[in-house]
Symmetry: C2
Subunit: 567 residues, 2 copies
């Protein structure tokens, strides 16, 4: 039996996992990892928490739960895996089945032979097409040295004002880190919303309201045109299409692209997204070369399309599958469903599947529900609010996507929804799932089941609703609608939608006072979350009042100003 020579390029998530898994399956393989950096097998997703100080020592990000650092000696002693770090792979010779590598410290070159090669070269930050991005304290957050330098600056350089270029996930996670350290942060986003690839507009607006209330500066529809220095090589200002922002520090986080130059030079096939194309066994166009993690594209399980969604969870799963397949296995990675979760300043944010916008672009007959509510029994002391948006196909009832966010437990709901979507669940099936109920954890009908019921009621014609955007358009067009507020007096004192078209009749009086409402105008019922708005719609409809609807999501989800502003 010949020894299987396995060479892995990249020693972080996919690479380290593939090598370790391969060793557990094949004790006799010769396994080598080539890693360009100093560190191996570190948790890149933990870097914002290191900058924040929640993680004290960077070594915690590359230690096992038992406190052992996963360095070259660890890989050698425990895994019998040779690691060459600070070593760059320069060239793949597919015919000769060898890779030329160079030690970035000594400059020494060598050729490493392989039987199976794993490409796990990860991603690199997208660079904006502007000048002076290499001033001091203009950062990207990609490698450990980036995080180390950012924390150093935050702790010792007297940073007062930071500008984050890009309103995406990494930008917002880093915003949390900086804001909690007392730094004034401004996010500059070119598009008209935060997280444009992840959230629909009104959901992003809900997040935006919250972040502004926490002091975060948010500038949308603004393009950074220039970064300026102070004359000593340090960053001083960010100039945008709408003005100038002082900045002691800048983070460029406008996206990640796959690091595929090496693979491209070797003639391996790239996909439509620009990332490496792989089959469901994570094999590239060369059957002896596998690839995974942030340098490959994945199949989206709902659309069947190829997508580039670089995430640590996917990278680790890829490593497992590759570890199997380079040692004679036939494991498969079926694809992703588009789940992303993160925390920003005590809001939990989670999404899966398609946004409404994406679903419409794909031609679905879209139906949506926008439902705020408590994440556990409202009388239980730790209950917190969530906003749920569900997107489904009105034709076959299939769930297509979900967005959940707020101070409550959003991630649990999205994990359930991601599972349901993976199995092709319909809104009817979602409503019936036997989810765990006890007052400290959920409501008797969990918020996502309730949202599924809202979808079903809409589909069945029982719950005619208007989205916030549709209502705002009517108001802006001076349509003579009635906005029927059915809340209690105490609620009305707290927060109001100021408009002369608002009529206030608390729900308990509505049946008696129905005569006060006009019959010739569209009536739009609302309350705080629109559960009573819906109830009011049913009451008026039952009493024969024509043309009654309710406002999706009520005042909580209203993405426009209210008086006084919601806290």
């Amino acid at each position: 039996m010949t020894t299987n020579r396995i060479l892995v390029i990249g020693g972080v998530a996919t690479g380290a996992k593939a090598a370790a898994r391969a060793r557990r399956r094949d004790p006799n393989a010769e396994i080598t990892i080539v890693e360009r950096g100093r560190f191996l097998s570190y948790a890149g997703c933990g870097m914002p928490y290191y900058i924040q100080g929640e993680v004290h020592d960077f070594h915690e990000l590359m230690s096992t739960p038992a406190g052992v650092i996963r360095d070259a000696a660890f890989f050698q002693n425990v895994k019998d895996i040779r690691v060459l770090n600070q070593t760059l792979a320069e060239k793949i010779d597919r015919a000769g089945k060898k890779v030329t590598v160079v030690n970035t410290v000594t400059g020494a070159r060598q050729d490493l032979p392989y039987d199976k090669l794993v490409i796990a070269t990860g991603g690199v930050p997208v660079e904006p097409r502007i000048e002076d991005t290499n001033l001091n304290r203009v950062f990207r957050l990609n490698l450990p040295d980036d995080a180390l330098a950012m924390r150093e600056a935050v702790e010792h350089a007297g940073i007062k004002r930071a500008v984050l270029i890009g309103g995406g996930l990494i930008g917002l996670e880093t915003a949390e880190a900086l804001v909690t350290r007392g730094i004034h942060v401004t996010v500059v986003e070119m598009l008209d919303q935060l997280l444009p690839a992840m959230l629909d507009w009104e959901v992003a607006a809900f997040l935006e309201k919250y972040l502004r209330s926490k002091g975060l500066g948010i500038r949308l529809n603004e393009k950074v045109t220039r970064i300026e220095g102070d004359g000593n090589g340090n960053v001083a200002r960010v100039v945008t299409s709408a003005g100038t922002l002082d900045a002691d520090m800048v983070l460029i986080a406008i996206g990640v692209r796959p690091n595929v130059q090496l693979a491209k030079d070797a003639g391996l096939k790239l996909g439509q997204t620009g990332a490496l194309a792989v089959n469901d066994q994570l094999q590239t166009s060369d059957p002896d070369i596998y690839a995974g993690g942030d340098c490959v594209e994945c199949t989206h399980l709902i659309t069947g399309q190829k997508v580039f969604v670089p995430l640590g969870s996917t990278a680790n799963k890829h490593g497992h599958v590759i570890g199997d397949n380079i040692t004679g296995g036939t494991s498969k990675f079926p694809g992703i469903i588009g789940t992303t979760v993160f925390k920003v300043l005590d809001y939990n944010l989670a999404r899966t599947g398609l946004t409404e916008k994406q679903a419409r672009q794909l031609g679905h007959n879209v139906i949506t529900a926008l439902v705020p509510g408590p994440d556990r029994a409202h009388y239980y002391p730790t209950a917190k609010t969530l906003l749920v948006k569900l997107v489904a196909d009105a034709g076959n009832g299939q769930l297509l996507g979900a967005q959940v966010l707020g101070p409550g437990d959003a991630v649990k709901r999205i994990d359930v929804l991601a599972t349901a979507l993976t199995f092709g669940a319909t809104m009817d099936l979602l409503a019936g799932i036997d989810l765990g109920y006890a007052p400290p954890y959920a409501t008797a009908v969990d918020l996502i089941a309730h949202a599924a019921n809202v979808l079903r009621n809409k589909r069945d014609g029982l719950a005619p609703a208007l989205t916030p955007q549709q209502v705002k358009a009517k108001l802006d067009a001076d349509e003579p609608v009635v906005l029927l507020d059915v809340r209690t007096p105490a609620e009305r004192d707290q927060m109001q939608l100021r408009d002369p078209r608002v009529v206030w009749i608390p729900l308990g009086q509505l049946r008696k006072r129905v005569g006060e409402l006009p019959r010739d105008k569209e009536i739009i019922c609302f309350c705080k979350v629109s559960q009573r708005g819906y109830e009011a719609q049913r009451i008026l409809d039952g009493l024969g009042v024509p043309n009654v609807k309710f406002l999706d999501g009520g005042l909580i989800a209203w993405p426009y100003p209210l008086e006084p502003e919601r806290k």
Copy 2:
């Protein structure tokens, strides 16, 4: 068109929901609720938190999130539903389509006609066959008056010692309430474990260790034979098969049975479980009579068998389905998957599907994984431990059940697993689900995906393991095994399995020191959680050492004494 006369017996979860849903669908129906108690539509599951004081005022349990009490006036004004409370349904006349009811205050009787009747009479506590269960301060926890009386006693009667008869869910939730109020609590359970219907033995033992560490008295394999008073009508002692326990207060919580006398007297068909038999539209054997909640049996979606599992979540879903079907709809309630979650003294406990014991009794070729681990990135400050047990069929890979508990977020995992089980997921599919990952919420490979991988490795012969019970049996039988501890020195100082057969070689030294191990004995590797135990097994197997296994769940899940005891 004739008016649909809907009569609902029972105004709490199912009944109130069915009536409200019916009204939203049919504005013209005449809807009446008959409720034996004073209160309507209260959250029975919240009663332990009222006793605990986490919920201050009982009215919170029957208020809407906006603070409106759901009383008879609320139902009349908002829902146009007539409520007769403190009114008992005495007799159903199916031929005459009417129900005789009596006002329990005035004694007045009347007959109420119906076109559709809903039976939502709930459950009643099972009574033990012992005497003197009606002494003062011998409680059951079923109705609001029970909770009000218990809280009154706890706050004003100087209770020092309480005995809970029954180690089930209600007993343990109430234990939390009493322990946090400074009362010494002893649970007496007839069987050899807590929660026998919900958990496997070793999982219950993990919970038991924790509860004992919090000062809870737990007496297993003990049968209560007598309750004794102090001569003034107050409870003073509980006598069991093994001794006598002083008690100022007793809770009898040995189970719930369906309240079906009324339905039985009317000749409606009962199921094998003794609860009312209903079809998937929740129709009884009389097509004009529907029933739901704690008085009916449900179909278990995994076994297809009828089961009696009274839960508030199911009761509310039933109400929705019944509300549809008594107003011309054709909604279905497919069944339950056996999900139960609850909190006891900062442990979160959750389960779904079948236990290993149940799966074996049903003839499955069972494979299990017992996997402790952190619920989020181990370096993230709020990370906490969980113990996961998965049960699957080794033949087709289908997941059959799961138990998750510990201080970490157990409920999220069970909700995902309940969803996966509902869709018939296999261990392979579970491992690949695109669950949300960010350090504050999960590990890159979530603990349940990791546990699914352990199942797959076991199935594929890559991970030969022994359960704690199997290892204990070998130790007790004086088998000459080697218990190989591969932990770090610091870990070994914290907690040890004391046995002369333990050999200690830290994992990083194992490859070099393999010669120290005998070749003629079975070697059982372990660490804290058995991830390194598994790694050690792979190393030794790869080095040609015969007969190596690892201990499922490591020391964390070891249900027998350790030194010093795990905190």
